[in-house]
């Protein structure tokens, strides 16, 4: 089975590649296509041998994309469901992680949080994420008020800031999200750091929201009377 997948024959995988469908939907919409090309070309433009891209400009273009393109396009690209690694890799590549996400060194998560809090917009987006994706045992979905959309929106709102989250690998069975940081060197703040990091890596609300969106089961979960 592994050999079939690693062959990545486009003809066999394209049938159920929701991430490819999402890219098609975006390309056929002039606004989505323009802003997607905007961030992709900025984020993949090489500056010099030592500098693969301008992260600052890449982040700005990503923020414009997620701010100005409706969620019906951006959510589909970010949270498409996958049955094979080719699809999951495409999903991971959505934000051009080599420029917007990965870095030579891995900063401490609390330092990264500090950098985010120094910027008023990043600070408020992070607060939104903590509010809307806070795992709770009081609801069926683990999300506050069973509101998946609010959690997904807050997640997308972090992209293009210091705390940009992404899929850590192209796994199809388990979805793991994290900002580019670790809790090494936290000293006596280790517990605080792990708690902060777990809001991304081990968050049942965020995971359920992403899975429900991918499966199309996120509708009518919150009955309104």
């Amino acid at each position: 089975l592994a050999s079939i997948f690693s062959g990545m024959d486009p003809a066999t995988t394209s049938k159920s590649n929701h991430c490819l469908d999402a890219a098609k939907a975006c390309n056929l919409n002039d606004n989505c296509k323009r802003l997607r090309s905007g961030y992709i070309s900025t984020c993949s433009r090489e500056l010099s041998a030592t500098e693969p891209c301008s992260r600052r400009k890449c982040h700005k273009a990503l923020r414009q994309f997620f701010d100005r393109v409706p969620g019906e396009f951006t959510f589909r690209l970010l949270f498409c469901s996958c049955k094979d690694p080719a699809c999951a890799e495409r999903r991971r590549q959505t934000i051009v992680p080599s420029c917007s996400y990965e870095d030579k060194d891995t900063p401490n998560c609390l330092d990264l949080r500090g950098a985010c809090r120094a910027d008023h917009l990043c600070r408020s987006r992070l607060a939104d994420f903590h509010t809307n994706c806070q795992a709770t045992f009081q609801s069926l979905t683990s999300c506050p008020g069973d509101n998946f959309q609010a959690c997904l929106g807050s997640y997308a709102g972090l992209i293009g800031f210091d705390i940009t989250p992404n899929y850590v690998d192209a796994s199809t069975t388990s979805i793991t999200i994290s900002p580019w940081c670790s809790c090494k060197g936290s000293g006596n703040m280790e517990e605080e750091c792990e708690k902060f990091l777990r809001d991304f890596t081990e968050n049942p609300c965020l995971r359920n929201a992403i899975q429900a969106f991918g499966n199309g089961t996120d509708v009518n979960l919150a009955p309104k009377n």
Binding site: M8, S14, K24, N27, K33, S37, R90
Partner: protein
């Protein structure tokens, strides 16, 4: 019907569009992503200028003989669409410019 087909062939110059995969563009990229390819199609009979008529006359009077000339307007893009980006089968991003027409005219 036959008349309808004849009329379709003689539509004036205008923008048309096709949904195609990036691989089908023939630019050497391997990608299953679908893009909108807009192109110019149609006749330019209504756009014949004094220039074209005179050029034809010069040719028939053999004042112009060996040169390659075109005494008819041609339906071509006047402007091109914005860049289009895609992820290829090897997970590399590419951006292509001037891929698609934005506006057509008889030039």
């Amino acid at each position: 019907s036959r008349r309808k087909r004849a009329r379709a062939r003689h539509k004036p110059c205008e923008l048309r569009e096709l949904e195609v995969s990036v691989s089908e563009l023939g630019l050497g990229y391997e990608s299953d992503e679908t893009v909108l390819f807009r192109y110019c199609s149609g006749t330019c009979e209504a756009a014949v200028r004094s220039y074209d008529l005179s050029l034809k006359s010069m040719r028939s009077r053999r004042k112009i003989r060996k040169e390659k000339i075109r005494a008819r307007p041609c339906c071509r893009p006047l402007a091109y669409d914005d860049d289009v980006s895609f992820l290829d089968a090897y997970n590399r991003y590419y951006t292509v410019n001037e891929l698609s027409a934005k506006e057509c005219g008889c030039v």
